[in-house]
């Protein structure tokens, strides 16, 4: 296996980046180009992002939350508009902080093609690009930090505490948007064992079983947030 062999999934995938810190923007462009993505545009504010998406119709966008002019949440607002106007463009929101409130707004309608990650995650290049690919393919990528905040703040904490340690791990990974296969790989167990855990979790929490991964994410998040 060489580094080159790890990138086929990304081949030519069109990306638009919105990030106001030049050093990060350039780093991301380099990283994604290196991984075989096609970076159509790299912009520094929300309006330019909307314009660039309208022009290039990328498969996925990477959006910083705080950008000029107000440095509050214009990236997030732009991301929500993108979700409404270009449902086929996946959005990976990329932030210095984790705000579960942001995640909730982003996931309000559907979890398909949505990601919300801490900027720190980019240090693990492999995991970051995997999350990006998952989002681009219509999946979900939620930062483990968001998930753990949701888990600890959840009013359902009592029923979550009924789960076994392994089941809680599986629940977190599910909430991050990972597939059964990815969960199995991450926990180094068999796919069958994961399926068993998932069934156990849904039974204990009283959730209906959902077929697709991102429906499953929404179900879990709604459960935790309610």
């Amino acid at each position: 296996m060489t580094g080159t062999d790890r990138r086929p999934a990304a081949a030519g995938l069109r990306v638009v980046i919105a990030e106001d810190a030049a050093v990060l923007r350039e780093g991301l462009v380099q990283l994604l180009a290196d991984r075989g993505y096609h970076v159509c545009a790299a912009v520094a504010d929300g309006d330019s992002l909307l314009a660039a998406v309208a022009e290039h119709r990328p498969a996925v966008t990477i959006v910083d939350v705080r950008m000029p002019p107000t440095y509050t949440d214009e990236g997030l607002r732009a991301a929500i508009r993108l979700r409404a106007e270009y449902p086929r463009t996946a959005v990976l929101v990329f932030s210095q902080y984790v705000e579960t409130r942001y995640a909730a707004r982003l996931l309000a309608d559907s979890a398909a093609g949505v990601g919300y990650l801490l900027k720190d995650r980019v240090a693990d290049v492999g995991e970051f690009t995997e999350a990006l690919a998952r989002v681009a393919a219509g999946g979900t990528a939620l930062d483990p930090e968001v998930v753990s905040q949701l888990l600890s703040a959840s009013r359902r904490a009592a029923s979550v505490s009924d789960l076994t340690g392994r089941e809680r791990e599986v629940l977190s990974l599910m909430a991050e948007g990972r597939s059964n296969a990815a969960i199995a790989a991450s926990l180094v167990v068999s796919a069958g064992a994961v399926e068993k855990h998932v069934a156990g979790i849904f039974a204990k929490l009283g959730l209906p079983q959902s077929e697709t991964d991102n429906r499953r994410v929404l179900a879990v998040l709604r459960y935790l947030g309610s």
Binding site: M1, T2, G3, D20, A21, V23, L24, G27, L28, Q30, L31, D34, R66, Y71, Q96, K119, D120, V122, A123, D124, V125, G126
Partner: protein, 445 residues
């Protein structure tokens, strides 16, 4: 007319008579009469039965209700008088703080009865009544009477032959009588011609008589309708506390922004470069892309150094280490680094507290930067001196002037920062220059 005025005193007296101030003061006394009388009577109507009922055991509750109504009316009428004084006299008396209602029925009644501002205003309305009547009378008699006397010969002539025909009967033709008793009897043309002299004298005295009443009234307004010294001080402190909170919140926001946009972003970039380099170096036994890995490590190295610089600058912005050696040293460093040649005179025998030193340092830094950016000055002088328990900092340049705290946030921000410790910032910057900014800070805060 002025040509004949023999002495400056007379000139001043004439000027006082025709001044705008004399007019508005007289107007104030006249306009104050209706409000003074109406307010007084309404108040008495509520107050007298209120007191009587409260004193009788049976009607206490109704009596207290009347008293509350009376004091609240006093507050309103007082506000009217304060407004009139502000409009006519330009008096700047701060209104008392708005009433803070209590909770529960008893609490509410209690709070109303203890409303000191309302009781003081009620007192004012009661005292204002005689003052308004007398003041208005004096203003009208002095001004209208004076003008009447001054033009008396014309009236005497106009009042007709009938009056003058009585000349021989011994009855007075016109009774000059500003007071209820006594008076001047004018019977002959020569005495009629002398009356204008009296008129002139009355007119000259009029503004001073009016001012006597106005001064007394001003004193009453300040003490009875104002916020009261203690509560004025409380208000000042509330404001300075609010601006201290704002200032520290703004500082924290700025620090957070600097961290977010600077060091944090660079560290993320650094981690990203290292992550990519790690991949290039490959796992055990994998072929190594050394050239690319070296480039990435170079980038990471650069990011790390930049992050260090940014963190150092940020730390210096929060607490300049140079201040550890005292304000004079810190100011010397600032002036030495100034883009415009700057001189420093510092005389600070006792060290101010750290908060004051920090504020003085940042003010000096900002003002020097302003001078370099906007003033086109060729020299800036910085002086810092401790005198009478205050630290005086002044930054003056020989530039083009026109600095305005209302435009641009820099000076306004400094003023706010200075106010947090009860300090003052004065700016003199006429167009064409020079600009002198003086800051006065307490030595300890």
């Amino acid at each position: 007319m002025e040509r004949y005025a023999p002495a400056p005193v007379l000139r001043a007296a004439l000027r006082a008579t025709v001044s705008r101030r004399a007019g508005s003061e007289a107007l104030y006394l006249v306009l104050g009469l209706p409000l003074g009388i109406a307010g007084f009577y309404l108040l008495i109507i509520l107050l007298v039965p209120g007191i009587l009922l409260t004193a009788s055991v049976v009607g206490t509750i109704a009596g207290l209700g009347l008293l509350i109504a009376a004091t609240q009316l006093g507050r309103m009428v007082g506000a009217g008088h304060r407004w009139l004084a502000a409009r006519c006299l330009g008096s700047q008396v701060t209104a008392p703080a708005p009433f803070r209602p209590g909770t529960g029925i008893i609490g509410r009644i209690d709070a109303r009865l203890r409303d000191g501002a309302a009781w003081r205003a009620t007192g004012y309305v009661l005292v204002k009544f005689p003052l308004a009547v007398l003041g208005c009378y004096v203003a009208l008699v002095a001004w209208i009477g004076g003008l009447f006397y001054l033009t008396y010969p014309a009236w005497w002539w106009l009042s007709g032959a009938a009056v003058r025909a009585d000349h021989g009967t011994g009855k007075p033709a016109v009774v000059m009588n500003p007071l209820p008793v006594g008076g001047l009897h004018v019977r002959t043309w020569p005495s009629a011609l002398a009356v204008p002299l009296l008129g002139a004298a009355v007119l000259l005295a009029a503004p001073w008589a009016v001012r006597l009443f106005v001064t007394a009234d001003r004193w009453l307004i300040r003490n009875l309708l104002g916020a009261g010294r203690l509560s004025e001080r409380v208000r000042e402190l509330e404001e300075s506390r609010a601006s201290a909170v704002d200032d520290s919140a703004a500082t924290l926001r700025r620090v957070e922004r600097d961290l977010h946009d600077g060091a944090q972003a660079r560290l993320v970039a650094l981690a990203m470069s290292l992550g990519m380099a790690k991949e290039k170096l490959g796992d055990d036994g994998e072929p190594v892309n050394v050239t690319r890995a070296r480039e990435l490590v170079d980038t990471a190295h650069r990011s790390a150094k930049e992050a260090l610089t940014e963190l150092r600058d940020l730390a210096r912005g929060i607490h300049p280490p140079v201040l550890d050696g005292g304000l004079p040293d810190a100011l010397a460093t600032l002036t030495a680094r100034s883009a415009v040649p700057a001189g420093l005179t510092a005389d600070i025998p006792a060290r101010p507290t750290a908060a004051i030193e920090t504020i003085a340092y940042f003010c000096a830094a900002e003002l020097l930067a302003n001078a370099a950016k906007h003033s086109a000055a060729s020299h800036v002088a910085v002086t810092a001196a401790a005198r009478n328990g205050a630290l005086l900092l002044s930054v003056s340049d020989d530039g083009i002037g026109g600095a305005d705290p209302d435009h641009g946030t820099g000076l306004a921000g400094l003023r706010q920062r200075v106010r947090t410790v009860d300090g003052r910032l004065d700016i003199s910057s006429p167009p064409g220059g020079p600009t002198v900014v003086t800051i006065e800070l307490p030595l300890s805060a």
